[in-house]
């Protein structure tokens, strides 16, 4: 199970990073979502992987750590909200300038010389 979870995190992260480097809004947002899935699974695994164990005190002898589940819940809520925000802003920028590049427009004479890249 450790191998499965670890490789799932690895595949999600690499796919997310690849998509983020595309520098177009839509792939970048997809990559962002993959990265947040990866980090959610990673957070979940940070409390060690146990199957079928209760997270609250009972008669059981084996427990799973409840804290990472609370952390993941917070992280999911935040990343979901953030994705909605970035979709709205990205949509506004695309509709306004008819261009979905994430980096600064190269034809803009003011900013073109300052060499500001978009996301890494």
């Amino acid at each position: 199970m450790e191998f499965l979870v670890a490789s799932a995190i690895g595949v999600l992260t690499s796919g997310g990073l690849y998509l983020m480097l595309r520098l177009h809004t839509f792939p970048v947002i997809l990559g962002m979502s993959l990265l947040t899935y990866a980090v959610n699974v990673f957070l979940f695994a940070s409390g060690r992987l146990t199957v079928g164990a209760p997270p609250i005190l009972s008669d059981a002898t084996v427990y799973t750590d409840p804290l990472p589940q609370a952390l993941v819940l917070t992280a999911i809520v935040i990343s979901f909200g953030m994705t909605a925000v970035v979709v709205m802003i990205g949509l506004g920028a695309f509709l306004g300038s008819d261009d979905d590049h994430v980096d600064d427009p190269a034809d803009d004479p003011v900013t073109a010389d300052d060499e500001v890249e978009g996301t890494s």
Binding site: A45, S46, T74, I89, G92, P105
Partner: protein, 515 residues
């Protein structure tokens, strides 16, 4: 238990929805509520700072759960001073936003402003790493809204970059927190300090990864080169009062670095040795150099100011990276200075824009009110470039003094002094083009007369300048206080014992020794 310490978080958190729900169509009521809220914040922050100034650690356990099971808010000298600085900065920025009409060019400025304050205050006061993440997100969500306030294509495009870059930062933060939790089983800062010190030298892979990831996250917030690419566009395109408030946001990153790397990973800790002197210091020197070269190279005033913010963050981080009490004290003095100076310059760039078509550094006909604006720009530029007599010069002197005797002293002195020269040239070039060469351009009769900036705007900028002057005049007291702050940071035992030994629900008699 004293409940005042949570007031800087709760007050804006209650005020913001109230503004949205009860006053969304009345800009006058919104303004009144917002200013009243910030004034109350200043009062509370003053009280907290006075309470902590004697060296007491103010602890607040949410719902009375004992640390490390519950979330704690902790106020020591450093965090209460940062809270006070934020509240004072917010007042002048708010006055400027109201007088210049920026708050009325889009909706919900005041509500977002209060949420932003809530996030910043919480980030300064929290004693829990995951809670720090949550407050980072609160301040970022509010800042996304403020950043694209009043709309416009250029602003939206810069906003997309800003949001995406910070989302990557947040994801990295979560990875760092996950690895810290996997290694230590706690996220409370005081508890972490104890447990990280217990990790044996043979078993440090995970915690090293976590320490580096955390440093990366905070460096993104602090706009350290090469992680600074989000800053120039977004600060230049953001509405000027928002950019001025953002001057404190880069300091949140610097604050987090100071807090985490003096308490959890202190400089003498073997696990993270080499992190500050091999990596952080050269990167900070690089950002100082690149920021000031950017000042010289910028073709627009707002980008010039944005690059000067990067440069001054570089200066702050050079001083932090020394990780000596003198270095941290110099950094703390310089943080206050650089926040005020950055905010002043962003507001002045908006004063300049009031009479001009754009902020390009090209000669354009003179406009009404130039003399006063030029005078303020002169003072702001002196402060940011670090010339005498203002506090930038004293701060730089303290940094140079703290660096004297370290291994890299030649490099630090050369880059600090060289970049100062470059920034002086950059600022004087910008000032002479904007204000002096304007008189060589004949105004076109067809141009409609441009409006003057409101008097209240000058009062807001003048207030910040007066704070800078006070920061210079009382430099002895301020630096003395910074030294006591640094002493408190380098002796974290009272902090740790206050947090872990305070009784509360679930606390056991021997909380510190039973794992």
């Amino acid at each position: 238990m004293n409940h005042w310490i949570i007031a800087p978080v709760v007050l804006p958190a209650l005020l913001a929805p109230f503004i949205v729900l009860a006053a969304r169509y009345h800009i006058g009521i919104q303004r009144t509520l917002s200013v009243a809220g910030v004034l109350a914040l200043i009062g509370i922050a003053l009280g907290l700072a006075l309470q902590a100034s004697g060296g007491t650690i103010v602890l607040y356990q949410l719902s009375d759960w004992a640390a490390p099971f519950g979330i704690v808010l902790v106020g020591d000298r450093l965090s209460t001073l940062m809270v006070l600085l934020t509240a004072v900065l917010a007042l002048f920025v708010l006055l400027y936003a109201i007088s210049s009409g920026w708050d009325n060019r889009g909706r919900h400025f005041h509500a977002l402003f209060q949420f932003q304050l809530m996030g910043i205050m919480g980030a300064f006061l929290t004693g829990d790493l995951f809670n720090l993440f949550v407050f980072f997100e609160v301040l970022l969500i509010a800042s996304y809204g403020l950043m694209i306030h009043a709309g416009g294509n250029a602003r939206l495009r810069a906003g997309v970059q800003y949001v995406l870059y910070n989302l990557i930062g947040s994801t990295l933060f979560l990875f760092a927190l996950g690895s810290i939790y996997a290694e230590t089983g706690t996220l409370n800062m005081a508890d972490l300090a104890n447990r990280v010190a217990m990790i044996g030298p043979e078993d440090t892979v995970g915690i090293r990864v976590a320490a580096v990831l955390l440093l990366l996250v905070f460096s993104i917030k602090a706009a350290l080169v090469p992680l600074h690419f989000w800053l120039p566009s977004s600060y230049a395109e953001a509405p000027a009062p928002v950019a001025a408030l953002f001057a404190i946001m880069t300091k949140v990153g610097a604050y987090a670095i100071i807090r985490v790397y003096t308490m959890i990973f202190p400089p003498q800790l073997e696990v993270t040795s080499g992190l500050h002197d091999v990596w952080l210091l050269p990167a900070a020197l690089l950002s100082l150099a690149i920021g000031m070269i950017g000042v010289l190279a910028a073709k627009r005033l707002d980008r010039l100011v944005a690059f000067s913010v990067i440069g001054s963050m570089g200066m702050v981080l050079v001083s932090i990276a020394l990780f000596t009490p003198e270095g941290i004290a110099a950094a703390l003095y310089y943080i206050v200075h650089s926040t005020l100076a950055g905010a002043v310059l962003f507001l002045i760039s908006d004063l300049v824009r009031t009479g001009r078509a754009n902020l390009d550094l090209t000669p354009q006909p003179p406009v009404a009110g130039t003399a006063l604006t030029a005078g303020l720009f002169f003072v702001g530029a002196i402060a940011m470039a670090g010339l005498p007599p203002l506090s930038g010069f004293l701060g730089k002197l303290l940094v140079l003094d703290a660096a004297y005797g370290t291994d890299l002293v030649v490099w630090i002195w050369a880059i600090v002094l060289g970049s100062s020269l470059i920034s002086i040239i950059g600022f004087s070039r910008a000032g002479s083009i904007l204000f002096w060469k304007a008189h060589s351009v004949a105004p076109l009769d067809s141009d409609p007369p441009q409006p003057r900036p409101a008097t209240m705007s000058y009062v807001a900028v003048g207030g910040l300048v007066a704070l800078l002057v006070a920061h210079t005049a009382f430099a002895g007291q301020m630096h003395g206080y910074a030294v006591t702050m640094a002493e408190q940071l380098f002796a974290p035992e009272p902090y740790i014992s206050t947090v872990l030994d305070a009784p509360g629900k679930l606390s056991t008699p021997s909380t510190t020794g039973d794992y």
